[in-house]
C-alpha cells in the first residue's frame, strides 16, 4: 500500500508581525517551518502504515527549504517529494490542490492521502476537499480513531454536533485534526536514518506539465482591496478639580459613544 502525507511549509504564526505603518503582514520576514497540524498528518500516516507499505511525503514548497523537512522525514517517511514553488507566483487553495493532485497521479498507485484539516497559516479548509474532487476520491474529514482493515478505513468524524462513525473503501483523502493524535518526537537515530532518505524535487511545468498560466487560471483569486482594522483612539482627557463634574463629563462621553446605556 502507498500512503501520501501532504505537508505544508507554513508561516510560524507566533512570529507573524503586522507592519504598523502599512498594516500589511510582514510575511517576508516571518520564519517558516513545517506546520503543527502537519505533524499530526505525519503521525497518522505513519501509524496507519501496514506492514510492507510505504509512506511518502508531498509538499509544495521552495526547493531551497528542503532542510526544514528533516524532522518530518525523521518521523517516518520513506521519501519526500517537493514540488518546487520557487518560481511560482500563483497562490490559493485551488492551485495548490491542482499541483498536489497532479503529483499524486504521477506518483501512481496511491491508496490513501492524508492531509491536515486546514493549514497553520492559510486555514482555508479547502485544499483537501478540492484535492479529493480532482482525484475523484471520497473525502473523509476530521478523522479520529482511525483504523485500516485491508482496503477499508474506519474512523470517527469529529463534527460540531458529535462523532460520526464511518467506514470507507480506499482510495480516499483523509483529513486529521490536532486532536487526532499526539505526534512523536523523532529520536537521533530516526534523524540519522532520515538523512539517507531520498528527497525528490519536481518542477510544476517540467515534471507535472502544469504551466504557470494553467496554475494562474486554477488559482483564480484576485485581491480586491486591503482594509485592515484601524482603531482610532479618541484621546479625550477630562481635567479639573471638581471630581463630580469630571465624573459627569466622563459619563456623558460614554453615553454619547454608546459604551454604556441610559
Amino acid at each position: 500500500m502507498k500512503i501520501v502525507a501532504c505537508i505544508k511549509y507554513s508561516l510560524t504564526l507566533s512570529e507573524l508581525k503586522v507592519d504598523p505603518a502599512t498594516r500589511e503582514l510582514r510575511l517576508a520576514t516571518t520564519p517558516q517551518r513545517v506546520g503543527t497540524i502537519d505533524r499530526n498528518v505525519l503521525e497518522a500516516a505513519v501509524v496507519l502504515k501496514p506492514e510492507g507499505s510505504t509512506v511518502h511525503g508531498l509538499t509544495l514548497a521552495p526547493a531551497g527549504a528542503r532542510e526544514a523537512f528533516r524532522e518530518a522525514i525523521a518521523m517516518g517517511l520513506d521519501d519526500l517529494t517537493i514540488v518546487d514553488s520557487t518560481n511560482w507566483a500563483a497562490g490559493g487553495p485551488m492551485a495548490t490542490a491542482a499541483v498536489l493532485a497532479a503529483a499524486i497521479q504521477k506518483m501512481g498507485d496511491v491508496d490513501l492521502v492524508v492531509c491536515g484539516e486546514a493549514s497553520d497559516d492559510g486555514v482555508t479548509y479547502q485544499v483537501p476537499p478540492r484535492l479529493a474532487e480532482r482525484l475523484g476520491w471520497p473525502l473523509l474529514a476530521y478523522a479520529r480513531n482511525i483504523a485500516l482493515a485491508g482496503a477499508t478505513l474506519t474512523a470517527d468524524r469529529d463534527l460540531d454536533i458529535g462523532m460520526q462513525s464511518v467506514a470507507c473503501d480506499l482510495p480516499l483523502v483523509l483529513t486529521v485534526t490536532q486532536e487526532t493524535n499526539t505526534p512523536r518526537r523523532p529520536t537521533l537515530m530516526d534523524a540519522v536514518k532520515a538523512k539517507k532518505k531520498p528527497v525528490v524535487v519536481w518542477q510544476p511545468e517540467a515534471d507535472l506539465g502544469l504551466s504557470a498560466e494553467a496554475l494562474q487560471a486554477a488559482g483564480g483569486v484576485t485581491r480586491i482591496a486591503q482594509e485592515g482594522i484601524v482603531i482610532a483612539r479618541k484621546e479625550q482627557l477630562f481635567q479639573g478639580d471638581d471630581m463630580k463634574a469630571l465624573a459627569n463629563q466622563l459619563l456623558d462621553a460614554l453615553l454619547a459613544e454608546h459604551v454604556v446605556a441610559e
Binding site: L188, M189, V192
Partner: protein
C-alpha cells in the same frame, strides 16, 4: 549501532570549524547541536575578528551573514554625568577583509554549520547530547535521548556551559564564580540609515564598536554597544560573584548602563527586540582547561579558551583557532590509527604554535586588571572630572591638568595607588 569517524558536540564556531575541517579531509563526521537551528542558543557581543576566520574560511566576508564592518573602536569611560572617549577610526576605506565585523549569532552560526555540511559533515540540530560514553576509561561515543552513537573521536565543543566532561568524571577543575561573568544584552532595532548617520558611518556596511567602563551599578564589569545593520547590540558583562554580592539583578545593571546619558542618546528611539544572556569565562592563558584525553578533544570555550584584554573580547576566533589545531591533531591521529591521549597530544602543541595562543601569552598580565575595582568605579568618574575641570570655563580660576587631577582624586584614590594601577595597566596593555 551507527558509527562515525568523529562526533562533534555543539555547532558553535568551535564545533562547526572542527566538523568542517574533518569532513573536508574525508572523515565521516556528525555534528549534534541542541538548538533547533545552529545559533539559536548562542549569544555573543558580537565582534568577529577576521584574521583567524580568513585563514580557515577564505573570503568568508563574501558569503557570511555579517552585519557591519567595524571601522571604529572606542573605549569609553562613563562617570555619573560624564563620558570620556578614546576613539579609534580606521579611515582607509578600501581594504577587505576589515579587522572585525559585527555579527548576530542566530544568523551567523547557521552559515558556519552550512560550511561544515557542504564539506560533507552531517548536521543534527535539535538534539541534546546527554552523556559521553566510555569504555575502559576511553571516550567511545555519545548518548542523546537514549540513542547511542559511536565514534573514533569525540570533539567536545559545548561552549561555556560544558557539562559533559564533568558528568563523565573527566573534568576535575571546577568553575569559580570569580572567573566567570554574566553577559546580558538587548538587541535594539533602529532604521539602518539612522544607525549609519548616528554613528558617523559612510554607509550601511560600516559600523563602530564601543567598549565602556563604568556605570554598571558599581559592579566589576563593562558595557558594550555594537552596531549591526538595523539593530544595536547593547550589553553588560559583569563578574558573577560581584553580581550576587551587589544584590543587583543583571537586567538592572544593564538598565543602569543604558540609562547613562552617553548610551541613552545612542540608543534613542530604538525598540528592544530581544533580551538575551550568556555566561562567559574570563579566559586567559593561566586558566586554559583540559584540551584532550583518550578518544576526545575539547575545543573553544568548553576548554575555557578566550582572550579578554579589556579592549577586545575574543572568543569566536579563538574557538576557531583551537578547533583547527585540534582537527590537525585528529587527522594526524587518523594516520596512526590511534586516538589515545598520547596521539591527540599534538593538539596542544598545534594550539601553542598559533598566534592566538601567543596573544594569550602577551596579554596574560591584563587579567589582574579585570580584578581591579578602581578601574570600574573610580577612574571612569575621575577621567570625566579632570577633563571637565580642564574644559569648563567657570567662576573659579582654571586649573592645569595635574592640579585638577590631584583635586579630583582627593578622597577617592591615593596618588601612590594610582601609580600602581597605571603600572598595572601599562604592564597589561602597553609594555
Amino acid at each position: 549501532m551507527e558509527k562515525f569517524d568523529a562526533i562533534v558536540v555543539g555547532a558553535g564556531p568551535a564545533g562547526a570549524t572542527a566538523a568542517y575541517l574533518l569532513a573536508k579531509a574525508g572523515m565521516q563526521v556528525i555534528v549534534i547541536e541542541r538548538g533547533e537551528t545552529p545559533g539559536s542558543k548562542n549569544v555573543s557581543g558580537a565582534l568577529l575578528f577576521s584574521q583567524v576566520y580568513s585563514e580557515i574560511f577564505p573570503k568568508f566576508w563574501e558569503s557570511a551573514p555579517l552585519e557591519r564592518a567595524i571601522v571604529g573602536h572606542a573605549i569609553t569611560f562613563l562617570g555619573e554625568q560624564t563620558s570620556v572617549n578614546l576613539d579609534y577610526r580606521d579611515l582607509d576605506e578600501g581594504h577587505v577583509p576589515h579587522n572585525a565585523y559585527s555579527v548576530l549569532r542566530a544568523r551567523f552560526d547557521p552559515w558556519m554549520a552550512q560550511q561544515a555540511e557542504d564539506a560533507g559533515a552531517m548536521l543534527m540540530p535539535g538534539f541534546t547530547v546527554d552523556k559521553l560514553l566510555q569504555e575502559n576509561g576511553r571516550v567511545v561515543g555519545i548518548e542523546a535521548g537514549g540513542d547511542a552513537l559511536m565514534a573514533d573521536v569525540v570533539v567536545v565543543a559545548e561552549g561555556t556551559r560544558s557539562g559533559l566532561l564533568k558528568e563523565a568524571g573527566l573534568r576535575t577543575d571546577e568553575y569559580h564564580a570569580s572567573d566567570v561573568s554574566i553577559g546580558v544584552k538587548d538587541v535594539i532595532a533602529l532604521p539602518e540609515d539612522v544607525i549609519t548617520n548616528r554613528f558617523q558611518c559612510l554607509n550601511a556596511d560600516e559600523g563602530v564598536a564601543y567598549t565602556c567602563v563604568g556605570h554598571t551599578g558599581g559592579v566589576e564589569g563593562g558595557g558594550f554597544l555594537y552596531t549591526n545593520k538595523d539593530t544595536l547590540s547593547v550589553g553588560v558583562v559583569a563578574k558573577i560573584d560581584a553580581v550576587y554580592k551587589s544584590k543587583l539583578q543583571p537586567h538592572a545593571i544593564l538598565n543602569e548602563f543604558k540609562a547613562h546619558p552617553f548610551i541613552s542618546r545612542l540608543i534613542a528611539g530604538g525598540e528592544i527586540v530581544e533580551y538575551s544572556a550568556q555566561a562567559i569565562h574570563r579566559g586567559g592563558v593561566h586558566l586554559i582547561g583540559q584540551l584532550y584525553g583518550d578518544g576526545y578533544v575539547v575545543v573553544g570555550s568548553a576548554a575555557r579558551l578566550l582572550l579578554n584584554n579589556v579592549m577586545t573580547l575574543r572568543g569566536m576566533d579563538v574557538a576557531v583557532a583551537s578547533a583547527a589545531a585540534a582537527a590537525k591533531a585528529i587527522l594526524a591521529a587518523r594516520e596512526m590509527g590511534d586516538y589515545s591521549h598520547t596521539a591527540l597530544a599534538g593538539y596542544e602543541q598545534n594550539f601553542k604554535a598559533t598566534n592566538v595562543y601567543k596573544d594569550m601569552v602577551t596579554f596574560k598580565d591584563t587579567y589582574p586588571l579585570l580584578e581591579n575595582e578602581r578601574l570600574f568605579h573610580v577612574y571612569p568618574e575621575l577621567a570625566g572630572a579632570v577633563l571637565g575641570d580642564m574644559f569648563t570655563v567657570g567662576a573659579k580660576p582654571s586649573k592645569k591638568g595635574l592640579k585638577a587631577l590631584r583635586d579630583d582624586m582627593r578622597g577617592k584614590v591615593s596618588l601612590w595607588q594610582m601609580l600602581m594601577d597605571m603600572n598595572q595597566i601599562g604592564k597589561g596593555l602597553v609594555r
